[in-house]
């Protein structure tokens, strides 16, 4: 196997990470920084959805609910109990994962379209509960004034502050995204990841060789909801305001489209989708009323001509190139 540092599998991600790290230093445009921070948040959410959908083959349409549960958990803990960001964030992940377990257990008993519909129902239920449980969540008024991440103390009396500093916030979120990608990669390339692939490929055959399909799907589902919670927790601290819309199924479909646009079942696909789709959508604001029409047509064209997303298309090109060479 090619272990060289110059192999494309290492070089391309390395260059992209370098660009991501260097990018904010070349521009003072706060709007661009905002887009990049959001790309990190959606990147984590999309990577999480890709784990359960792209690798384990389960179309989970409750993803927005887990994003919302993570966001509200960290928001409420910080706002109402005064708990610090660095405690609230892991608790947000764990709470989302706990709900993942509770919702995954019944819904993973169903398969295919039934699973998709079942999880979509759970998404609606979660949003309704957040909306109506006004004593806890403030309902439609929303949660206002969620604090930014607490400062990180450094040696020599230095500290990293995150409030009103988009550059440090960006680096923090980028670090979280990279950790998410690192862990996801560990999982999908491991024997556990092979179980995911087997269950996605053929559940009956997987069971016949001793793989427990339910357990495998539950592991993928709960891990995915953990990272959905992470994305939600980061979102809450960055935006500082939450309303029930943030757990809505529109969020689910936004992330779903990002994953499919970039390429289902690839590491880079969700990142591509989460980075460029919001940018395209923002750029189309110039078209005013025609914005969503244009956006829709663009998505249809991509899905028809690149059914496996941008990464699927690039892989085809790469395969052609190497074939032409040999």
């Amino acid at each position: 196997m090619n272990k060289s540092l110059l192999r494309p599998g290492f070089l391309i991600p390395a260059v992209i990470v370098l660009v991501a790290v260097a990018a904010p230093l070349f521009s003072e445009n706060r709007y661009l920084h905002h887009l990049m921070i959001m790309a990190c948040i959606w990147g984590i959410a999309a990577t999480a959805l890709n784990l359960v959908m792209g690798y384990a083959g389960q179309v989970n349409l409750a993803h927005g609910a887990f994003f919302g549960i993570g966001a509200y958990t960290s928001g409420l803990l910080m706002l109402k109990l005064g708990i610090g960001f660095w405690i609230a964030l892991p608790l947000a992940c764990l709470t989302a994962a706990l709900f993942g377990l509770l919702i995954g257990m019944p819904s993973l008993r169903t398969k295919g379209a039934y699973f998709a519909i079942g999880t979509l129902c759970f998404n609606v239920i979660v949003t309704v509960i957040i909306d109506r449980w006004e004593d806890l969540t403030e309902g439609q008024r929303g949660l206002l004034g969620i604090p930014s991440p607490s400062p990180i103390p450094l040696p020599f009396g230095l500290t990293i502050h995150f409030d009103n500093n988009m550059i440090t916030t960006y680096y923090l979120f980028l670090a979280m995204l990279l950790v998410t990608l690192f862990i996801t990669r560990r999982i999908v390339t491991s024997l556990t990841g092979k179980n995911f692939r087997a269950v996605k490929g053929n559940e009956e055959l997987a069971a016949s060789i001793g793989i427990n399909p339910f357990r495998t799907k539950l592991i993928a589902f709960v891990t995915s909801t953990f990272f959905a919670g992470l994305a939600g927790g980061l979102y809450a601290s960055y935006i500082g305001f939450l309303s029930p819309d943030i757990s809505d199924f529109h969020v689910t479909f936004e992330v779903l489209i990002q994953v499919m646009f970039g390429g289902l079942g690839t590491m880079a696909g969700p990142i591509i989708g989460a980075t460029f789709l919001p940018m395209i959508s923002e750029t189309l604001h110039a078209l005013a009323a025609y914005r969503m029409v244009t956006y829709g047509i663009m998505l249809i064209v991509v899905i028809i001509f690149l059914p496996s997303g941008i990464m699927g298309g690039l892989k085809l090109l790469w395969a052609k190139r190497t074939k032409a060479k040999s």
Partner: protein, 256 residues
């Protein structure tokens, strides 16, 4: 007796697909289950492997009841199977198919994966060694890096047997191993089945091709309409009157 079915019955609504069936398999044998279409052969396999649960009766592996277990639990008890329609992980390479087949014998879970532990590495190496061994055993080396869905039908059949063998079973159930391949290719599959027997794995197979059944079986069980109508060595079964009637029965029925 390695494996035994006692009084096995399965009804789907009003239809009794398998009726009070009993037979046993001695260690190291090749036992064939034959019978006309709809005789209940595949249902027997599905009952043994936990896809369906019996309405009545017992299924025993080495004296232990395995009735009521789920398919993945049956596999862990040491029973592997192939499916009537050739079933492989079509998107994965031939090599990966064999690696995942060995998953049953490796214990690494999510936390081993997250930590990248020594256990995970050891299990990976073990599975790859097993896959290498099976590639040469099944003569599939040249397709090693091909997607399993793209290789010829007969090679897919061999691969599907390989996936089952990778679990290191005591008992291997083959559902029509030569279904859908031509006569010349039959011989290569027959050789492989004999090699598997020689390696010490007990085999039970469902087959339609009489020549093959007669050539390789130690023992034959004949089903018709869910019931056993004969059993014995291949020669005696082939001369059995009720067996001949069962196969030619529809012809008589049309006349009378």
């Amino acid at each position: 007796m390695l494996f035994q079915i006692i009084g096995l019955t399965k009804s789907f609504g009003g239809l009794t697909a398998v009726n009070d069936l009993s037979f046993g398999i001695e260690e190291g044998q090749i036992v064939s289950v034959i019978g006309p279409n709809g005789a209940g052969k595949s249902t027997v396999f599905n009952l043994v492997t936990g896809v369906h649960h019996p309405s009545a009766g017992r299924i025993e592996l080495m004296g232990q009841s395995i009735g009521g277990l789920k398919p993945y639990q049956v596999a862990r008890q040491g029973i592997a199977r192939t499916f009537q329609s050739t079933t492989v992980f079509a998107q994965d390479t031939v090599f990966e198919n064999l690696v995942i087949g060995h998953r049953l014998r490796t214990g690494s879970g999510l936390f081993s994966a997250l930590l990248g532990s020594a256990r995970e590495h050891g299990d990976c190496n073990k599975s790859m060694a097993k896959a290498e061994e099976l590639l040469s055993f099944l003569d599939l080396e040249r397709y090693r890096n091909e997607a399993a869905g793209n290789i010829p039908q007969e090679s897919q059949k061999r691969l599907s047997i390989g996936i089952a063998l990778a679990t290191e079973p005591r008992l291997l159930l083959l559902d029509e191993p030569t279904g859908g391949v031509n006569l010349e290719e039959d011989n290569s599959l027959i050789r492989i089945i004999q090699k598997i027997k020689a390696s010490g794995v007990t085999i039970c197979l469902i087959e339609h091709k009489m020549k093959m059944v007669m050539d390789i079986s130690d023992h034959v069980v004949v089903l018709s309409y869910g019931s056993k109508i004969a059993e014995g060595d291949p020669q005696s079964v082939s001369r059995n009157k009720s067996v001949i009637e069962a196969y030619l029965g529809p012809g008589y029925a049309a006349k009378g």
